[in-house]
Amino acid sequence: MIGWEFPPFMSGGLATHCFYLTRELSKLGVEIDFFMPRTREPVSVSWMNVIQVDFSSFSEFGAAAVFGGESEFREFGPYRDFCRKELKAVRLEKGVVSPSGVDEAMVSPAGLGFFEAVNKYNSLCAKLVALYHCRRKYDLVHCHDWITFRAGEAVALECGVPWVATVHSTEYDRTGNLWPFEWILGIERRGVRAADLVLAVSNRTAEQLVERFGADRRRLRVFYNAIDVAPFANKAFRREDFGFPADSKIVLYNARLSVQKGPEVFLRAAARVLEKEPRARFVVSGSGDLLPRLTELAVDLGIAGKVRFVGFTPFCDIPVLYAVSDVYVLPSVSEPFGITVLEAMASGTPVIVSKTSGVSEVVKNCLTVDFWDVDGIASRVLGVLKYAVLKQVLGEGGREEARGLSWDKTASDVKWFYGQAIAGLGGEVVG
């Protein structure tokens, strides 16, 4: 399996997914070698070999020769800071703090830009996997997202093994459909067409792959992310401990501060909510390039005193965040899945999520809304804050529903798809 991020080095759902998927797959008897970029602190888990690729010592010439020169990647717009800012080392357990600066070392070895780093990673990974294959004889190679697709394709070609590509999000999603970067689209398009089997995290994403990338429906499968409810169970916190008045109502935003996730709409809805419910407080958790703009917006809307920007929340603190909140809002413009929704549900926190999210295909116990509908979001927030019975029913129902979405089920789906890929059934419609 070729990945990019893995706990404790993570920025989003991809790491969580790889962590739980590999763990459950190994329980199902799947032997995994997991390839990922080198981090300053080595990553190690009990259920598989983690092979960390150190591409800083890899010659630039090699990368350029495999995937083209570096000059074309000088300007890459919104993606420039993606990893430097986002791929922070986070604490998985309390007390274990990974050293800072890991991201820099990992992503910009020898001062490389992001795209060059991706290029080098893929190129080196492909070579390394092929090398390992001589000894390990892999049955299949599984790649996650465009960032590893080229390696997957190269390995499949060289070693003659089927390759499976999971699409967690597309470039259209990540940029809110506004300025997709052509280079990445190219990799995604090529990847989903070349892979023996493509796994999409929702029907929504699958449809997008067919429509926009011309993916072959017969080689496309949908699976859903899941949730390990254990960290989210039985947390009770008083809001006073966090400096909120006892009678305050807390509305949570927990996602990257990027156009894709719709934080602006969240703030505008917050202003509407405050017109009717002055006790409401808004917590914005997450970091991203929109932060300066959002703080300004909060001031302009006259709600700066009621909004708290808390920055990126490490994994171990997230359950606290949900437990202390009255309602969680994810107003994503385009959300392939949305694992945080399951996290909030597992915590018993009511959820308001945009209709344009994959997760709303699987869960019922949440409120859905159009991502642009400021008043719609605000009136739903007010509904949950005002009517205790609704909060209770959504909380209980959500918790129950989240419990039913376990990773072992997802893993057994994925294992079944592996079987299809190995048997070469990708080209046929399999019931």
Partner: protein, 439 residues
């Protein structure tokens, strides 16, 4: 064959009791909590556009053509064909607003004397489940008045909303002068007994007519179902089933919207309805209205129904409307509004008071609670089918309904206080005038 069976003590069916339920709720608007509400409550809460759309569609597809078929059947059989209707107050009001011809066609049916109208609550409400029976009785009286004014009818048989029946309902109906009540013929209360006889409620209560749900659902539910082994159902085949049934009467109770709405005209449902009277009469079966059925046959046994029974969903209880906490919260809110509305009406009176009462009755329609149902299995689809708010979940429907109820509550209190204050104000002005010797 028939004689042979009779020799064995089996009694073949003598008559058919057809009963149709006619109802349209006042569907809610997506209430905007941020906007400024207009003064007219009716237009602020209820969506004229949506209601008009549904009513016109139903009138075109069901009410007008089905009434025509029945009228023809009555004429063709020289008045031997009989049917019974329960028509809700909200339906009549919408008919008046949107398609008055529908009322005319029902009046034409009423004038034949072959159609009986059944009493119920005016707004298809669950008022019978309130702790205090005052509201229930008021609504039933209101409905009877409406039947008298619109169709010149005096109901003698009662049906409660969604066929909700229990011993209490029977007692209430009896107290209000009804001689018979309709109920669901479900095994939980009938046990081994057949629904094809007339029964009596406990303690010498009213007579009970139980719905034969298998034969009723063959038409109401399965008629257009291609997965059904008996599809397609013809009038001939169905009449032969009726003729071979045992008992005194077979009670076929169904939504009137079965004809043309639940089963679209292309399914052949109108042809079925048209030919059914002829096919039945061919087999010697008589048609009786609900009142005639109740008086023709004497009760064979007493039936005890301690818990509420209804014709909805697989459970046949009230869980379709009060199954989850959201529904119960709204229901409690409705019930608690009663004294507030009453006191507001007492101070306000006049047009404003009538508006408050009317809105209160419209809000009590059980459909609003039905749309909040979260049962996830097969019945959930039925709920979705009947919901006008297809885009939104029960949770969103709850927020909207509760927002309306809260706004209404505030308005009721505001009006009550305003008029109380104006009375006080007038008095104090008088007082000052007295003191200053101006009067």
């Amino acid at each position: 064959m028939a004689r042979l069976l009779q020799g064995w003590g089996v009694k073949l069916l003598a008559s058919i009791c057809l009963y149709f339920h006619v109802h349209q709720p006042f569907r809610l608007k997506q209430f905007n909590v941020f906007g400024k509400r207009g003064h007219c409550l009716r237009s602020a809460y209820f969506s004229e556009e949506v209601n008009k759309h549904y009513f016109e569609k139903a009138a075109r597809q069901c009410y007008l053509p089905a009434n025509k078929v029945l009228l023809d059947a009555i004429e063709e059989t020289g008045g031997a064909f009989k049917a019974s209707f329960s028509i809700t107050g909200t339906f009549v009001e919408q008919a008046r607003l949107f398609v008055p011809e529908v009322l005319d066609s029902f009046r034409a049916l009423a004038e034949t004397g072959c159609v009986e109208f059944v009493g119920e609550t005016w707004g298809h409400s669950l008022a019978v489940l309130y702790a205090d029976s005052g509201e229930f009785r008021e609504q039933v009286r209101m409905h009877s008045r409406m039947l008298r004014d619109e169709f010149g009818a005096r109901p003698s048989v009662f049906r409660n909303t969604e066929l909700i029946y229990s011993n209490d309902v029977g007692r209430e109906a009896r107290a209000m002068g009804f001689g018979a009540v309709l109920a669901e013929g479900f095994e939980t209360v009938l046990g081994w007994r057949s629904a094809n006889f007339v029964y009596r409620a406990r303690n010498n209560g009213p007579k009970l007519l139980f719905r034969n749900y298998r034969l009723s659902d063959d038409v109401g539910y399965r008629f257009g179902a291609r997965w059904w082994s008996q599809w397609p159902l013809t009038a001939d085949k169905y009449a032969s089933w009726l003729a071979s049934a045992e008992g005194d009467t077979v009670n076929l109770f169904m939504d009137y919207e079965t004809f043309g709405e639940h089963h679209w005209p292309g399914s052949g449902i109108f042809g079925f309805l048209k030919h059914l009277p002829r096919e039945c009469r061919k087999r010697g079966l008589e048609f009786l209205s609900v009142g005639e059925t109740a008086s023709r046959y004497s009760a064979v046994d007493e039936v005890d129904v301690p818990f509420a029974l209804s014709w909805a969903d697989l459970e046949r209880d009230v869980s379709a409307w009060l199954g989850n906490k959201l529904q119960r919260a709204c229901f409690a809110e409705l019930e608690s509004l009663k004294p507030l509305v009453e006191s507001a009406v007492a101070v306000e009176g006049g047009e404003s008071g009538r508006e408050l009462l009317d809105v209160y009755r419209r809000l009590q329609t059980s459909d609003h609670l039905y749309y909040l149902c979260t049962k996830s299995w097969a019945d959930g689809d039925v709920h979705k089918h009947f919901s006008p708010y297809k885009e939104s979940s029960p949770y969103e429907n709850f927020i909207n309904y509760m927002n309306v109820l809260q706004d209404f509550k505030e308005e009721v209190c505001r009006r009550a206080q305003a008029s109380a204050a104006s009375v006080v104000g007038a008095k104090s002005v008088e007082g000052i005038a007295l003191k200053e010797g101006l009067v």
